[in-house]
Symmetry: C2
Subunit: 209 residues, 2 copies
């Protein structure tokens, strides 16, 4: 496919789909289709940091809020990495060597033990069109922005705590999660992953009846 | 005080307060004042059942939804008993012998191990003007009706699960509570009693983002 053919195809696709579908729940389909049309992002891992300065990385950052601009690069959360690699939108390189999906997951699991529980929630919400960012500052797992929102311009809709169905919690832990959400004026969303990989969501508010 | 004086005083009080204050948060004050004006309810315990057929019992049932009509008697929940006894509105008799408050609490604790945790929540919500009924049918601790509501005529605002801050819970238990509330189309209220006897409330909804 020549550059002009590619450009034409990509442009037509953009015109037809992006304006009508991009902000809807079909974002996942869109990403799949885009992945056939766009070049893959080449990302590089250095220590725990995975980033890219490719044109595709900037384009996806602008369109779909994947990654964060750090200096002249786009830097990704681990969940974003897994999502983009799974959807064939990204290859991750260590030096010149491409890291295979399984090896990548193993590596990320070393950095974040909870990634296996967090990623299915990220994926489920991202497919539904939400924009999901990390939430270390909030002592939570994710911030979730409304569908199509630009983080920084809109407030997060929820802060999310992820847990696996097999876990227990104390009321002290439960209270702490609520206090964090309340003090940052955000709603609390509990995302519980079951054994089959499905996620159940509970919205919790601290109230004074 | 003669019957006429008593009646006049009671009637004036009713006229002045009941219409304006009874349905507000001053219900507690109201009950205290009423307790000086009204005769105490004489209730009788037979097995686990505490009931009364006195005029005062019927009056309080009609005005403030204390107790439930069972055949020709007004039958009380354990929390109601403790509340009325504590506010000097009721004496409980076993045969001809009045049971003292401490002995009564001990007795009720034998019937319901959770009464010590449930009662402070009942008291806190009742003082705020809510009408509180048992919720065995719902597998919960209480049904809570809006302030001044007549149970049976209005739907419960919440079903309440009470727990002590020192307890743990599994996500399975958490999920079960939500399922009960959801399937009965009621809101779920978690009432957590702390070591100092204060209650913190969390409203929880099962949502599909």
């Amino acid at each position: 496919m020549s550059f002009h053919q590619y450009f034409y195809l990509f442009h037509s696709y953009n015109k037809f789909f992006i304006k009508t579908i991009f902000k809807t729940k079909y974002i996942f389909l869109n990403i799949i289709v885009l992945s056939f049309l766009m070049e893959k992002i080449q990302a590089h891992i250095i220590g725990e940091i995975i980033s890219s300065n490719s044109a595709e990385a900037y384009s996806l950052y602008k369109k779909s809020n994947f990654g964060e601009k750090v200096e002249d690069k786009i830097q990704y959360s681990f969940s974003e990495i897994l999502f983009l690699v799974e959807n064939k939108k990204m290859d991750v390189f260590s030096g010149n060597k491409k890291i295979q999906k399984e090896a990548l997951l193993k590596k990320l699991r070393r950095f974040d033990k909870k990634i296996q529980i967090k990623y299915p929630v990220f994926k489920d919400l991202r497919i539904k069109g939400y924009v999901i960012k990390t939430a270390l500052k909030f002592g939570a797992d994710f911030r979730v922005y409304p569908k199509g929102a630009k983080p920084g311009k809109k407030h997060a809709k929820w802060i999310v705590f992820v847990d696996h169905e097999s876990k227990k919690l104390t009321w002290h832990e439960f209270s702490a999660k609520n206090r964090v959400a309340h003090s940052t004026k955000k709603n609390l969303l509990l995302a519980i992953l079951d054994e089959e990989g499905d996620v159940t969501y509970y919205e919790v508010s601290w109230i004074k009846p």
